[in-house]
Amino acid sequence: MSNTAIWTMALGEDVREAKDGDALLVAAARGGDDEAFGELVRRHQRRVFRLAGRFFKRQEEVEDVAQETFLQAWRKLDTYRARAPFEHWLTRVCLNCCYGRFRKRKGDDLPLEYDLPSAAPDPTARLEAERLLGALAPDDAFVLLLLHGEGWSVAEIAERLGWSRANVKVRAHRARKKLQKLLMETSS
């Protein structure tokens, strides 16, 4: 019987969805059980893809960041203390992966095309977003996407990224001011 089957039996179908299940899977993965970790990946992969898709527009890139997130999680699993749900910890790992790559990638001269059919439906809005984000410093653009894209508050961003509230507040203020300036320039 495979480890996954054992975990499924041990947790039960109903309980599998419960957050307690994550704790059991984390404990097994810490002991080197990669099938338990595989179950964690399956549980959280959609969330990770959704978050990474906020910052990167190509399927290949989103997948790369998602893989990097889970590999980092595997390496750092011993640092996870079950005081908060596993998904919160994983969100932070994912955001840090996105942030690192976003900062590097922002300066690159990359094509604007999305290769996903479900990408932002209005091409004008897409170009507008690209233009605005391209004019901002990477850190500010990152915060702005979390504020407007994810709809998180300053406090939520600070908590999930592990930054200080003051830091996020300053960046949010700067990004909004720059956004205002860009829009005023467009209108004049």
Binding site: Q67, L71, A120, S187
Partner: protein
């Protein structure tokens, strides 16, 4: 409230002094246009998403890339660290105190065997 102040307040979230802002926007077309552009920009940022989804083999690809992990007992082991250290210290002290100093380890005199061996060696 002047246009500069109105645009600054509009850019903040949530916009403050909403009633006063609305009154200004009703009579100032330029600020009204700015408010519309701002709203469109926010929508564009909200929609800025790749919409990517993991395929069914994604987890298998991740598992294939995992480096081997030596089984660990994790935080439980760390919690036992003070006890382990204390035990080691007690054991070390016991060994240290239980060992005679070198001065006490000197033999009181050569044994007959040793004397015989030395004499035999000397005669050869």
């Amino acid at each position: 409230m002047n246009c500069k102040r109105v645009r600054l307040l509009l850019s903040q979230e949530p916009a403050q002094n909403r009633g006063e802002l609305d009154r200004h926007l009703d009579r100032c077309r330029a600020c009204g246009a700015f408010a519309e552009r701002l709203e469109r920009a926010r929508e564009a940022l909200r929609d800025h998403h790749a919409g990517a989804e993991p395929d069914s083999a994604f987890s298998a690809r991740v598992i294939a890339r995992l480096p081997r992990r030596s089984p660990t007992v994790g935080w439980a082991a760390l919690r036992l660290l003070p006890i382990t250290t204390a035990l080691l210290l007690v054991l070390s002290a016991w060994v240290w105190l239980g060992t005679k100093p070198p001065s006490e380890m000197v033999a009181s005199g050569p044994t007959d065997d040793l004397v015989g061996w030395v004499l035999q060696g000397a005669s050869e």
